[in-house]
Symmetry: C2
Subunit: 210 residues, 2 copies
């Protein structure tokens, strides 16, 4: 398969959530134009994005909402359930652990880890907090496919190294620092400071803003 751009995958997510929304309202058919309007893009872009994976529409008619939803879920790997561990039982970790949206999409938060003895053994978002000393062992045992890191910037790289060594291949980090992982590991970082700086940059430099 040809390499797919990250931007394409992001748009597929957007299309899917739109499809699920209109599907729930009973809409049976849609068009690349509809999908584009909601996703803030163009119909050509929608068709090109989908064309990387096959042809799912009918010329003259458009796309079947249930069918395209199901194909997109499959492409995005949402067919099966994924076991997620959260590392760092702070406020954000707790908020994520109990976030219902995850569950709906097939993500099961089945473990929360922390190093603070004060937190270990207590519950966070319906899950008992485990000692981070057991994290590596649990990953090796195959308990998780995805790790979400909500730890301070100082510890983040070391934890990435640990979970990677244990065999985890997918990591989502909320630590405000740049991290590195081997190429066979997918690592995404959400950095709030960076997002805010994107805003202040725009606020400061908008003599001519598109």
């Amino acid at each position: 398969m040809k390499r797919i751009a990250e931007s394409t995958v992001r748009r597929l997510s957007i299309y899917l959530s739109f499809l699920e929304e209109i599907g729930a309202r009973g809409v049976l058919t849609t068009s690349s134009d509809d999908l584009a309007r909601l996703g803030g893009t163009t119909s050509a872009q929608v068709r090109k994005d989908l064309s990387f994976f096959g042809s799912f529409g009918k010329r003259g008619l458009g796309y079947s909402v249930p069918e395209l939803s199901s194909r997109l879920r499959e492409i995005l790997g949402l067919g099966n359930q994924w076991h997620v561990c959260i590392v760092g039982a702070g406020k954000i970790g707790a908020a994520l652990a109990r976030y219902a949206g995850f569950f709906e999409r097939g993500f099961l938060v089945t473990g929360v880890y922390d190093s603070d003895p004060e937190k270990i053994g207590k519950t966070s978002g319906g899950v008992t907090v485990k000692d981070i000393a057991h994290l590596e062992r649990d990953i090796v045992a195959g308990k998780y496919q995805i790790g979400v890191l909500t730890v301070p910037a100082e510890n983040a790289q070391q934890i990435v190294d640990t979970v990677v060594r244990a065999g985890l291949k997918a990591i989502l980090s909320f630590a405000p620092t740049q991290l590195t992982a081997p190429p066979d590991v997918t690592l995404r970082t959400v950095n709030m400071a960076m997002e805010l700086e994107g805003l202040t940059f725009a606020l400061t430099n908008r003599e001519s803003h598109g």
Copy 2:
């Protein structure tokens, strides 16, 4: 000024945080090569990114850490303090409100709003939760330059419309839905579901992963 790509701005943020880190350790000089290694990019990319804004280095020698830090802070608009309101006093809103990293970078969370009477009047992250009915008035009064939205997907677009009407020009949303705003408003969305789907896509389709 030429239009600057969002990816460039993101990298500037990375460079800055690296510069501040080594600056705190007393390092006085660095090179595009150092900056590249930490930022996960190339030295040519670093120099190109900086070249959009001027020339800050000395050939043969590199960059002065304090000087480049200060120029980047200026470019990113971090010279002045920014007043931030958080809309939605749930778990994530509370976590953000008390996040110290914001303060260090010059972001002051001076207002938290919610529509739930149970929450109004209580404190969240050191700030008293205000009635969302007052939000528009407070923005019009110039209390905030940046809004952070941690509200359910269903309400998000309506709140965007409200704060935009009130004159806010910079919005960071954590709602798991696609939002639209006029072109003179900078809107960034962090969508956890989308990030996780990026991971499951990679996990599912990695017969050949670069």
